[in-house]
């Protein structure tokens, strides 16, 4: 992992029809052997970026370097990458074996080697013995495995995956997530996955680039993205979060004084100034009957509104006298139902640690 990055995206833009900026001056580096995710809402440019890596789109500006080579003039069929398509694109007129062998035939490998590698690839994706099947005799999950085997058998430097799990049902999707992580560890190939599903990205990737409106908002490991989001957009996009509009002024190195309605003035760690958002994750909020005395917390009175019970926790909305309620995920740690039942209208003190509070700019 100490070598040069396997993918370097330098100042890449893609403009459609002269004005629509699908990708807007993106800089990214993907390290060798990483499981990298491009995450964002639909239309954020993540798929365009992936297709530029595959060579199906040409950047309007900027440079794409894969494995040390500039890809500007390299056609898709000459790139050291292979792709798993969202629709799988398993050729319907070829058997599973023929599908997997297709790429090796194009490379004019000897037939003995093709046979061996196809069998290995099918074994790798747990489709051993199904080589003679036709795609229309297989389930969606199996077809996806064919697409994976077909791409991996070529031993690319990078495997590109375009929303690979979106067409699978929830259960299969979870199994496939683990499967992909296992595969990636087994083959050691760099994976770049595009997804709009944050849980998919968080559970699989080593690092995630969050994109919005063609721009990369933040690149970080899953924990970094969740615990220290760089902006309001990232915080809001990844997981649930409470955002309270506030103003902040800088008071010292990495320290700001924040003035928020109902909360008042607090000094917090952060760098954002001016109009900011105070942000706190619902699971970091606690509830008490009496006002907490700990000076390390922010406490506020709230009235119970809606409650959603999820078994292991309850998602409780507290009216704190602001426009929007504050939501808290309260762990249901006892089996005494009375203990954790929140009734609408009841008043509580809700509090969270200052250290868990984020000050986010736009």
């Amino acid at each position: 992992m100490s070598e040069a990055p396997i993918i370097q995206i330098k100042n890449v833009s893609k403009v459609y029809g002269g004005s629509v900026k699908a990708v807007d001056e993106v800089d990214l580096e993907v390290q060798r052997g990483e499981f990298f995710a491009l995450l964002g809402p639909s239309g954020c440019g993540k798929t365009t970026l992936l297709r530029m890596l595959a060579g199906f789109e040409v950047p309007t500006a900027g440079q794409v370097i894969i494995d040390g080579h500039d890809m500007a003039k390299v056609q898709p069929n000459k790139r050291p990458v292979n792709m798993v398509f969202q629709s799988y694109a398993v050729f319907p007129h070829m058997s599973v074996e023929q599908n997997v062998a297709y790429g090796l035939k194009m490379d004019r490998r000897p037939s003995g080697e093709i046979k061996k590698r196809v069998a290995e690839a099918l074994e790798l994706v747990k489709l051993g013995g199904l080589g003679k099947r036709m795609p229309d005799e297989m389930s969606g999950g199996q077809r996806q495995r064919v697409a994976l085997a077909r791409a991996l058998v070529k031993r690319p430097s990078v495997l590109l995956l375009d929303e690979p799990l979106s067409a699978l049902d929830a259960k299969l999707r979870e199994a496939m997530q683990l499967e992909l992580v296992r595969l990636q560890k087994t083959v050691g190939i760099t994976f770049v996955i595009v997804t709009h599903d944050q849980s998919e990205a968080l559970s699989m990737a080593n690092r995630i680039a969050v994109m919005n409106q063609g721009k990369v908002q933040q690149v970080a490991p899953p924990t970094g993205l969740y615990e220290t989001p760089a902006s309001r957009f990232v915080a809001d996009f990844i997981g649930k979060i409470n955002l309270i509009d506030a103003t902040a002024t800088r008071t010292g190195e990495g320290e700001v004084r924040v003035n928020a309605p109902k909360i008042g003035e607090v000094t917090l760690k952060g760098t954002a100034e001016g109009k900011v958002a105070l942000a706190v994750r619902p699971e970091k909020i606690f509830v008490a009957d009496k006002q907490p005395t700990d000076p390390g917390v922010i406490a506020i009175k709230g009235k119970v509104g809606e409650v959603a019970y999820f078994g292991s926790y309850s998602n409780v909305f507290f009216d704190i006298g602001l426009g929007q309620p504050l939501q808290a995920d309260i762990s249901n740690v006892t089996s005494d139902v009375e203990e954790f039942t929140f009734k609408a209208g009841e008043e509580y003190w809700i509090y969270w640690r200052k250290a868990d509070t984020l000050v986010l700019g736009d």
Partner: protein
């Protein structure tokens, strides 16, 4: 919505007009012709139905079989040329911008809206000895000669003088005419098949290292096979039975089977023999359709996702 089985009146209202139409204007006349083919001509206008096979025996004589064979050959050549021309055209339309696509399709269909006779005479104006093609060639030759005169090779030393090409009244002219007439029959089913083709198949093929030519023959052609089969059949069948094009553009040896049939019904006034020839043509058509059905069943897989 109410099931038609539950509403007898709806059922009959829907079924009677087309049935009437088919029976009156298709089945009855065709049956009459079919009966003629087993009849004998007994006078100038008298025909007796005596269930003999003489007319068919005569139709299978070498001279007529030769014309049948020639028709098949001409239709096959037409179909092949149409396929070769149509594939790039259909691909270009599929990959054109959606707004352009409509106009391009319109351009393909446009000749349909002009009378066949007018189109054929227009083609004569293009192909005849003092037609547009020969004019253009003459202009080219003259100017090439003029240009060569600057390096001292003028005055027809290298090329020319121009002799007009004989483009009309031969088999080539007939095939050119048939290709011109039948091109839309090939372009449209090909377009439909290619339009349905998921682009990611093409991208997957490129991604796996295939060039554009390989992708075309390994992915596009097999997946478009149902469309190709449709195009081939609906080009071949009318081409085989064409009458006007060989009549106007062909020479004395360009007779196709429809011309023989017409002459039997008209000049020769031999309806039974004309009927037998017609039905032989029809059996050939049925054979082609059956062949397509078998092909489609075999390749039906390509249609599914």
């Amino acid at each position: 919505m109410e099931n038609w089985k539950n509403s007898v009146r709806t059922f009959w209202t829907a079924i009677v007009p087309p049935t009437f139409w088919l029976v009156t204007f298709f089945i009855i006349p065709l049956s009459l012709i079919w009966l003629y083919s087993f009849s004998t001509k007994t006078g100038v206008v008298d025909i007796t139905l005596d269930w003999n096979l003489q007319q068919y025996m005569r139709a299978l004589e070498p001279v007529y079989l030769g014309i049948f064979w020639k028709s098949i050959w001409m239709a096959a050549a037409t179909t092949f040329v149409c396929l070769v021309i149509s594939f790039p055209v259909a691909i270009a339309i599929v990959f054109a911008k959606p707004t352009m696509r409509m106009w391009l399709l319109l351009l393909v269909i446009l000749p349909f809206w002009t009378n066949l006779l007018i189109r054929t005479y227009a083609l004569i104006a293009v192909l005849r000895t003092n037609g547009f093609v020969n004019w253009g060639l003459e202009w080219l030759v003259d100017h090439a000669d003029w240009a060569l005169s600057f390096i001292g090779l003028g005055d027809n030393m290298l090329i020319g003088p121009f002799t007009p090409l004989q483009l009309l009244y031969n088999n080539t002219a007939v095939v050119i005419g048939l290709v011109y007439v039948h091109l839309p029959f090939m372009v449209l089913p090909l377009y439909a098949a290619l339009d349905r083709l998921d682009r990611s198949y093409l991208e997957a093929s490129l991604d796996l290292g295939a060039g554009h030519t390989r992708t075309f023959f390994s992915i596009v052609v097999p997946l478009a096979l149902p469309g190709i089969a449709s195009g081939v059949v609906i080009t071949f069948i009318p081409a085989m039975g064409s009458y006007l094009t060989p009549d106007l553009l062909g020479g004395t040896d360009s007779y196709m089977i429809a011309n023989v049939i017409a002459s039997q019904f008209k000049q020769a006034n031999n309806w039974p023999f004309g009927a037998a020839l017609s039905f032989l043509l029809m059996y050939a058509t049925f054979f082609a359709l059956a062949l397509r059905a078998v092909l489609m069943r075999k390749e039906g897989r390509g249609d599914k996702r």
